[in-house]
Symmetry: C2
Subunit: 424 residues, 2 copies
């Protein structure tokens, strides 16, 4: 009997009729002979509703109590799903994160999973139940305090449980049917990817692909858990995320994610001497601001500009920190810019293929898009551009690399000089 | 430092601003030097909303999952209240029923409290926290399953915690400011009672007074916990419920509760022989129908009528059972009547005072109200009447016993023959 772990997001369990539809899918898997563990998020916008309620009570609620509050959300969806499954004649039991043995550290609001003690889950499976587990939540080991895992936490719960229980695959059901070469709302001819390596998926998630959160992919990579990202509304196969291996499609590039959630800050004309960047980043980090891209150019006349991107939500805090540091580090000016977008190109084959960056910059130039910042990894190139250019930019890059075609049919090299090295 | 246990009902925590108002009251008690434990119900109608949601998913949800679902309600109110208290600068920690050590039996939906293991509560108090506990919920001892206590469960949680922690009094905050001699919506001049004995309160609750549920009063009597029922919206003292003692006001009667939630069923002309009533009641009990009043009259020509009252919600089930038994017990007819009301007169002094029943029946007769069934205990008389007569009946009895006046000023005996034996 195979063990299947399925995770359903908030949209998939957004109302009573959708919960019943998820129940049918779960029951089908159970009746096909599988042991089934289901991880659920809170219904639709209910987590946001609870957050809004908390803000009406207190402008700055204690994180412990915030976690107590938010964990009510999955408690509701998990018990409703168990009811809907039972209504189809299949026994089901729901468990909170705490009951499911999701042991975390004590960082309320963004706890990390330290251990999974799934004894109660195993027992419930052995009794013949479908097991429903509340995603996004856990409990600390010694003080038994309830914690939440932060955004994307339910996916991580599912991967952690799948790994602890020895499942062969963790199915992530969501409201899109897989990972696409670009956001289909921006590029209508974007193509669904059949397989993506963990490394590519990490870069795609980090660069704005919303279908999977970074930490879930990290957890999957660390445990070697194969993910199958698919739609809860259709039966079509989705995208497999797994270890890169010889049999995998080695396209040069797999996707063009974009991100409009960030803003750019620049320290203008800071002295080009050791320790300045470190001082700035320490100050920013101490205030809990997440920095994404950091770019420092060569100096002119003994000064340089340091730019970096931060989430828009953190912009005012970041600016406050930088203004406090301006005199100490000797910057001429501190400038904020929230009208930016980041467009990236990700692909595991990129590292062995020269000319990809040139082709990407050329595509942007031909589309009349100005590049303001550049940063790269071995399998990714990211450019900061004007936010008003984002659609044009993504489509231009997507076109240039023929991403709407299946990889085996892409025969022209993106720089126009050679065949694309497709390996099966 | 005194320990105060306060319980707030759903109306008192119905929205964010009311939660903040409760927080102010809790903080005032804390700043006055008390250790404070607060038990909360779910916000407003949220429990009913969750029940409705469950019905949309399944017509007959498993009780275990129903309890998982419903316990989300107090989780939300308790964490919000903790936030509101923290916002006023006082440290507070919320605990679920399970975390608070409310150990129950395994009867999902109407579990009974078996034990209170309040170690975590004591620790949190010792650390200087105000402790908030989710009412209405507990956990089973060995299997650690989450349970709910049924209607009125939060009051019971409060009394159980107060008793386990050795509090001097358990304050029950609600949307009325105490226990009245009659429902003020029916009798505008109804008077708030200063003190009521456990026995009287049990009868008042059993006869339709909604301010306290029967089982909470039973628990308080068993543990000798003094209750103070008062309004969360005002500062005026409410009603004390405690052991009857020499210093208590010994009014003959303390209140005229009424109840319109029941229906009457009658087995017409059943043979008057041993075993018939037992057979009928066993059949009814086997189907989980709660029977309240049972009346059987003297026989005429070898047959008798057996009537009893059941909750209106159980009427169709009761009728089904009786129709199934009709031939077996030889009843000529089975009749249902849901247009009834029960009006009662309750008072600890009644047992030592003759003539109370006569005065009550006389008051009803003068008001033109026909009595259909009568049942009595040592401190209560209940009459079933037409539901359309209920207002007239309650006012007539309330007037006859001068219940709108303080007991010490009631000098005329209700039957008109003697002084009222008021003892201080």
């Amino acid at each position: 009997m195979a063990l299947v772990v399925q995770k359903y997001g908030g949209t998939s369990v957004g109302d009573a009729s959708r919960i019943r539809r998820v129940a049918e899918r779960v029951v089908a898997s159970r009746l096909a002979g599988n042991d089934v563990v289901v991880v659920v998020s809170a219904m639709g916008d209910s987590t946001d509703d609870l957050i809004a309620l908390a803000r009406r009570v207190s402008p700055d609620p204690p994180p412990r109590e915030m976690d107590m509050l938010l964990t009510a959300g999955e408690r509701i969806s998990m018990s409703l799903l168990a009811m809907a499954i039972a209504d189809l004649g299949v026994t089901a039991k729901s468990f909170t994160g705490s009951q499911a043995g999701i042991i975390t550290d004590t960082l309320h609001g963004k706890a990390r999973i330290l251990d999974v003690r799934a004894g109660r889950i195993s027992d419930a499976l052995a009794e013949g139940n479908v097991v429903i587990v509340a995603g996004f939540q856990g409990v600390t080991s010694t003080s038994k305090e309830v914690t939440t895992l932060g955004r994307g936490g339910s996916d991580t719960t599912a991967v952690a449980l799948a790994a602890a229980l020895g499942a062969g695959v963790c199915e992530i059901y969501t409201d899109v049917d897989g990972v696409y070469t670009a956001d289909p709302r921006v590029v209508p001819e974007a193509r669904k990817l059949h397989m993506v390596s963990y490394e590519e998926m990490l870069e795609l998630s980090a660069c704005g692909a919303k279908v999977l959160m970074l930490r879930c992919v990290e957890y999957a990579r660390r445990t070697g858990m194969v993910l199958h990202v698919r739609s809860s509304f259709t039966e079509v196969p989705g995208t497999w995320v797994r270890e890169e291996d010889e049999r995998m499609e080695k396209a040069i590039v797999s996707g063009v994610p974009h991100d409009t959630s960030e803003a750019k800050v620049t320290l203008v004309r800071v002295p080009d001497k050791p320790g300045i960047a470190a001082r700035v980043m320490r100050g920013i980090a101490e205030h809990g601001v997440n920095v994404d891209m950091i770019v420092q150019n060569v100096s002119h006349g003994g000064t340089t500009d340091i730019s970096f991107t931060v989430p828009k939500a953190d912009l005012s805090r970041a600016m406050e920190v930088l203004r406090g540091l301006q005199d100490e580090v000797g910057a001429a000016e501190v400038v904020a810019d929230s009208d930016i977008a980041k467009v990236s190109l990700v692909g595991a084959g990129m590292k062995s293929s020269p000319g990809v960056a040139a082709a990407m910059f050329d595509a942007l130039a031909n589309a009349g898009v100005n590049i303001e910042m550049i940063s790269t990894s071995t399998i990714r190139i990211s450019c900061v551009i004007r936010s008003s250019d984002v659609g044009v930019a993504v489509r231009a890059i997507h076109d240039r690399f023929h991403l709407s075609e299946e990889a085996e049919f892409r025969h022209d090299h993106p720089d126009g000089t050679a065949e694309l090295p497709v390996v099966r």
